[in-house]
Symmetry: C2
Subunit: 376 residues, 2 copies
C-alpha cells in the first residue's frame, strides 16, 4: 500500500486488513458468513476477510436465480499458489448453485504487454492453466473460458467505458499512471461486466473473488456499472477478498516473478519440497528458545502454506498453530511435514492435470465457438 | 490549431498550410507529383497539399507490389462533403493498381462514445455509408469494410500499443486529454496498422488520405510503427493531406454537427440547393463594388464547392475563379449556377446509391465473413 492507495500492479504487501474496512469500505464477512451453509476453507479460516455486496449472490443462490463468478489469469506463468486461491474460490462459488456460471478470462494481451509473451506462447500456457483449474475441480459444463485477445466484447466495453471516465476518476483510484495501465484497468472492468451483456442473459449478480490488492479494479467496475446503468442495466458486481499469502523467501508479497517466493503447480515436486525446506519461517533463532517461548505462526509463510492450502482439515491447521506457539513444534520438523504434504499434493495434482489436458483444449474450443456464434 | 498543435477532435480551421510543412514536417507534393501519370482532381488543384512517404506508394505501384489504402468514417451521420473528399482519394488510389486493397473502418464505437449513437443505429447508417462510397466508385472486389466494434484485431493492436506509449508521448502529440480520447487515438493507430498483420499478407506500404487536422493520428501511427517494428515488421504508413473545405455558413471548419455548414449526400437536392443559395461568399457588399474590384474566390465557400467537388473540368474551375476576381461573375449568378450543379449531382448520386444498397450489405457481410474466417 502506497499513498493510501492499493496497488494492483505492485509487489506491495497488505499488512493491516483492518485498514481496508475503514479506508476503502470493504465490508466484513460477519454479516454474510452465517448465510453460507458450507463455508469454504478460506471462509472458515478467516482467509476471506472481506466482501462487497456478497449478500446479492446469497440472494441469487437462495432464490435459484442465475449469477456469474468471474475471474481471470495472466498466462505469464503456470498456476502458482496465489492463482490457486482465486481458482479455489471460483470453484467454491460455482458449486453453490446450478445457476452459477464461471467466466474465466485469460489475459493474454496483458501478458504480452507486461511480460513480452507472444500470443502464441500464451495460447500454449493457457491450455495448461485451464487444465489446472479443471484439476482443482471446475465444472466445465458451466464455464466460459476466453482469451482477452479474442473477445471483442471485452475490448468494446473497455472502449465504451473509456469515454465515461475522467483522468481524475482514474487517478483517484490508481494514482498517476501511464495510459497503458489505465486501459488495462478498463479492460478488466470489461471482463467483470461482460457476463451481464444481453447475449449472456442480461444483468445479473456477479461475484469476483480477488486478492486484497485487486480492490481498485472492483471499485472501478462498480463505478462504471453505475455510470453505464442506463445503457446496460448493470448490477454493481460483488466481490470477496482473500488475504495474500506470505512469500516463502520472506519478501513482502507472493510474486509470480520471483522463483523463490512460491512454487508452481507444475513444478517438480522435489524442487517444491526443497523450496519449503529452505523457506523463511516465524521461528526463533535457536531450537532452545523456540521450545521455551514458542514460534510465531502468524508471521510464518510455512504456516500460511498449511493454513491456505495444505492442511485440509481445520483441526489439523489448528493443531499446527497451537503446537508452534506452544513450542512443541520446531521449524525443521514442521517444514519436513509440510514438504511431504506438498510433494504428495503436487504429484497427485500433476497426474490429474495431465489427464485433463484434452478436456482443457475442448473447453477452450467449445467456449470460443459459443462466443463466436453469439450476436455481436 | 491551438498551442501549436493540430486538433483532430476540434472544430478548428487550418488557415496556413505552409506552417504545417515547417512545424510538423509534412512534406510538399512537389517531389512526388510528377510521378503520378494521371494526378487526381485534388492533386491537380492543389487541394492535396502535403504528404508523408508517398513515394513508397508510388514505388509499390511502379513495381506492381501490394499496398493498402486505409481510411474510415464515423457513422454518426450520412456522407457529407468532407467525408466525400477522403472517399474520393481512397477510390483514386485504389484505381492506380490492381494490387491496391482498400481498408475502410466504420468507427461505430467512436460514434457511440462521441454521439451516443447505439451500435444498432450505427449499423443501419453504415450500410448507407458503404452504398455512398460504392456510388462514388469504390471497387468492392478489392475492399475490406469493417466495424470497429467487431474487429478484435484493431482493439488488440490498440491495447498492445497502449503499453508502448507514455503519457508524455501522447501529450506531446495531442495535448492533455482524457484517457478516452487517447484510447480513441490508439484505436485509430490500430486501424491504420492492421493491414500489415500477417493475415493480410504482412508488412506493406499503406496510404492514409486524411484532412490536414488528422495529422496527429498519422504521426502517432508512424511512431508506433517504429516502436513495434521488431514484433510486427511494420512499415511506417504513408499519408496524403487534403485541405479542409470552407464552411457554407462562414464558420471556421466544415463540421458534421452543424446542418448549415454543409449538406449531405442523401439530402433532399432542393434543400441542398437552398443551402447553396443562402451560403456565405467571398463577394463584395454591393454588386457595383464587385463589378469594379472583383470578388475574393480564395475566401469563398461557394468557390470551394466548385473547386473541391462540382467543377469536374479544371478549365471550368479556372474560369469561375477568373470571372470572380475579374468582376464578371456576381455571387447571385454564381450560386444559382452551382445550385443547379449540386441538385443534378445529388439526384444522380442518390439514384446510384439507392441501386447499390444491396451491394453495400453484401460487401459488409462478405468482409465480415472473410475477417472472421482468418486466423486470429
Amino acid at each position: 500500500m502506497e499513498n493510501d492507495r492499493l496497488d494492483p500492479w505492485g509487489e506491495t504487501s497488505v499488512d493491516n486488513y483492518q485498514r481496508l474496512h475503514a479506508e476503502f469500505g470493504i465490508e466484513r464477512m460477519d454479516s454474510v458468513l452465517p448465510r453460507f451453509k458450507n463455508p469454504s476453507l478460506h471462509m472458515r479460516r478467516g482467509i476471506d476477510f472481506g466482501q462487497r455486496d456478497l449478500g446479492r449472490i446469497l440472494d441469487a443462490i437462495d432464490n435459484n436465480k442465475p449469477f456469474a463468478v468471474m475471474s481471470g489469469i495472466k498466462p505469464s506463468g503456470i498456476f502458482h499458489l496465489g492463482t490457486k486461491m482465486t481458482a479455489d474460490d471460483m470453484i467454491y462459488f460455482q458449486s453453490l448453485s446450478k445457476k452459477a456460471t464461471v467466466f474465466y478470462a485469460i489475459a493474454d494481451v496483458e501478458a504480452y504487454n507486461d511480460n513480452g509473451l507472444s500470443l502464441q506462447d500464451s495460447s500454449k500456457i493457457a491450455v495448461q492453466n485451464v487444465a489446472d483449474i479443471l484439476a482443482l475441480g471446475l465444472d466445465p459444463e458451466r464455464a466460459v473460458v476466453y482469451k482477452q485477445s479474442q473477445e471483442i466484447r471485452v475490448m468494446r466495453l473497455a472502449t465504451v467505458f473509456s469515454a465515461g471516465v475522467t483522468n481524475n476518476m482514474l487517478r483517484a483510484i490508481y494514482g498517476e499512471r501511464q495510459v497503458g495501465l489505465y486501459l488495462s484497468a478498463l479492460i478488466q472492468a470489461g471482463d467483470i461486466l461482460m457476463p451481464q451483456l444481453p447475449e449472456f442473459g442480461g444483468p445479473k449478480p456477479v461475484v469476483v473473488p480477488v486478492g486484497a490488492d485487486q480492490d481498485p479494479h472492483i471499485r472501478l467496475s462498480r463505478d462504471l456499472a453505475n455510470s453505464f446503468q442506463k445503457d446496460f442495466g448493470f448490477i454493481p458486481p460483488s466481490s470477496i477478498y482473500h488475504k495474500l499469502i506470505k512469500s516463502l523467501d520472506g519478501a513482502t508479497k507472493m510474486s509470480k516473478r520471483s522463483s523463490t517466493s512460491t512454487f508452481y503447480l507444475n513444478e517438480d515436486p522435489a524442487s517444491a519440497a526443497r523450496k519449503v525446506m529452505s523457506g523463511f519461517t516465524g521461528g526463533r533463532p535457536t531450537v532452545e528458545e523456540q521450545r521455551r517461548i514458542g514460534g510465531e505462526a502468524d508471521k510464518c509463510p510455512i504456516y500460511d502454506l498449511y493454513l491456505f492450502h495444505f492442511a485440509m482439515e481445520d483441526e489439523y491447521a489448528k493443531r499446527v498453530y497451537d503446537e508452534c506457539y506452544g513450542g512443541v513444534r520446531t521449524c525443521g520438523d514442521c517444514k519436513k511435514e509440510l514438504a511431504t504434504l506438498v510433494k504428495r499434493y503436487l504429484e497427485e495434482h500433476q497426474k490429474k492435470r495431465e489427464s485433463l489436458m484434452k478436456d482443457a483444449e475442448e473447453l477452450l474450443e467449445k467456449s470460443r465457438k459459443t462466443l463466436d456464434s453469439m450476436a455481436r
